[in-house]
Amino acid sequence: MGIVSPGFRGRPRSKGVELPPGQYLVEDFPVLSAGPTPRVPLDRWEFSVTTESGETHRWSWAELLALPSERMTVDLHCVTRWSKLRTPWQGVSLDTLLAGVETAADFVMADSYGGYTTNLPLQDLRNGQAWIAYRYDGKDLSAEHGGPARLLVPHLYLWKSAKWVRGLRLLTQDEPGFWESAGYHDYGDPWREQRYQGD
């Protein structure tokens, strides 16, 4: 508990909604990114998974759409403190994409069109925890929100859900990605408020 701010009352406390520490609810869908929004033509789009031995698995846009997809409704928590609840998505589970991939790696670097990167433990992408999402709220995912397709890992802060995702590199040694190199936490669990290095 911090020091009381004289005269601060805050919003009416939301009943029955539990948010991670330091977060507040929004109804809109803010956009955050570090640079210009890349526009990726679908005929040139591809998604790849490259293992630690250099083996690459590739999917074109048509091949991705041909895979079994899932519809999921998830809560989003951005490190800039907004949380948006019950957001509806459609995409392909990483379990489906990783099914034929042989690896002993423990870590992943997600690479994006435009050069963004973010690192995650591989186990956080398995067991129904992560998707390559291409539809939001019944519509094609807009470029501002990471379309054509983004990584969606809702149990971690949203910077881990790489927009404009291009591929995953499986790594035996963890490496920091873009925001992780700039002082943000390596793992980013909102419920443990892991915003910055050392949290």
């Binding site: 508990m1 020091i3 004289p6 601060f8 956009v31 640079g35 210009p36």
Partner: protein, 245 residues
Amino acid sequence: MNVAAGWRVARLVGVHDETATARTLVLDVPGWPGHLGGQHVDLQLTAEDGYQAQRSYSLAAPAKGDRIELTVQRVPDGEVSPYLTEVLTIGDPIEVRGPVGGWFVWRPADPAPVLLLAGGAGIVPLMAMVRARRAEASRTPFRLIYSLRTPGDLYYGEELRRPGPGDAGADATLLYTRTAPPGSPRPSRRLSTEDVERYGWPPDFEPTCYVCGPTGFVEAAADMLTKLGHDPRRVRTERFGPSGG
């Protein structure tokens, strides 16, 4: 980035109204480590019942010892900005964490020319860069394009209209989107690619570009820069969202 120090108790030691709805807060933060232009702080407010709210605000100027400045735009129905601009009083305590940010920053040792594109309240971290340039006696070529609605929305007007000797080589262009001041050669309209070409740097000058403002402005301005041939890797964006205020 040293945010591991956690929350520090700061005190409000000065206020200055920039516009009818925006206020600059001067905070005294014991042990403040200093910061770069473009960085922000996290603020934490605690109500009597223990309820807490946190928000991020850009630093508006280089630190003067333990003193830092933030400019806060009041968002109607916001949870935090009305408190900061109307309730927080000189002498009151407030918790601060930071400085935060390692990407949307200007480092005085960086020799690249700088192009700043501000939309509305997005001027705040960019003004911090202009002021850092002055404080460091840097000669890095700077150009600022500041797009705003009306003359009544202008932050830091005195300083931008009357640049001092330390601002030689740093040009500011004010562009109005709704109401231009009387006698303006350019009618009020939204920022255009032609504006960015005319008042910015050419791409072959290879400036580092910083774009800050509301999402619509940032998306449009960053697209204009890439259309003009600026390398997207040299375009850094930060969005100010009225997402909860």
